[in-house]
């Protein structure tokens, strides 16, 4: 039961057992090295914090994608009267409203999740029970803000 001599990455890209720190880096580490990998996302039941975490990332990418569009609309709306009314006219279309709705959800989810991260930096809300509760709050409030936006848009 000795760890392999080489320091290469194992098949799943993790550091080999001999690099793991701590006094327990013996038999436990070898077991870790040969642990099964199960990544069927459809069958893994993620804890609510994981959903908040991946939600933060997905909403961030959605926001990145919407920034160029937002800049374009900002510039157009500030160009002249015609540009301004073109932008306001766009928001009467269903597809544009739907896209705006996705963007508002992404913004709400990202901002709320971000505030949760910032509070965690100050060690507020770190215990698991509280962290799970705030994760639920972020996920539900993100959807709630989107529903309010839908009410305003339609």
């Amino acid at each position: 039961m000795t760890p392999p001599a080489d320091q290469k990455l194992d098949a799943s890209g993790n550091r080999s057992a001999s690099q793991l720190p701590g006094p327990r880096a013996g038999a436990d580490a070898v077991a870790l090295l040969h642990r099964p990998v199960f990544l069927d996302l459809m069958r893994i039941q993620m804890p609510v914090g994981a959903l908040t975490s991946i939600g933060h990332r997905i909403s961030g990418v959605v926001l990145v994608a919407s920034v160029p569009i937002a800049i374009y609309l900002l510039g157009l709306s500030l160009r002249d009267e015609t540009g301004f009314s073109q932008v306001t006219a766009l928001f009467t279309r269903f597809a544009v409203k739907a896209a705006a709705l996705v963007m508002v959800w992404a913004l709400a989810q990202h901002v709320l999740g971000g505030v949760r991260h910032l509070l965690t930096d100050f060690e507020i809300g770190s215990p698991l029970r509280v962290a799970r509760r705030t994760a639920w709050f972020v996920n539900l409030a993100g959807v709630a803000v989107a529903l309010i936006a839908a009410g305003v848009l339609w």
Partner: protein, 112 residues
């Protein structure tokens, strides 16, 4: 370029920009709620005010910094092999530069 926005500095850029953008969003929401801008002259005049323009300028700077750190993290996690990741990071830096110039142009045009 890589030595400037990585590590602890990136961590700070992400957090300081986040706090500023949060305050900025509240400021914009408050402004829109207190005086809905339904016509071009009103909208243009509000944007051209020095306070608004400076607040927007700082927001765009914070946004671009935040977008750099966030997408850098995403690319570091998913973009492989490393050569492709480097190309994408470089392209992203250029893309952000372009967005920054575009925003600067919009703000400068406001001032007439």
């Amino acid at each position: 370029m890589r030595t400037r926005f990585t590590g602890l500095k990136a961590w700070w850029v992400q957090r300081v920009s986040a706090v500023y953008m949060l305050l900025f969003v509240l400021f914009v929401l408050y402004s829109f709620a207190s005086q809905p801008m339904r016509a071009f002259p009103q909208w243009h005049a509000w944007m051209a005010r020095p306070v608004t323009s400076v607040a927007f300028l700082a927001f765009f700077a914070a946004l671009l910094g935040h977008m750099w750190v966030g997408m850098r993290d995403v690319l570091l996690d998913y973009a492989r092999p490393v050569a492709l990741r480097q190309v994408l990071l470089f392209a992203w830096a250029f893309g952000l530069l372009g967005l920054g110039l575009w925003l600067l142009w919009i703000l400068l045009r406001l001032q007439g």
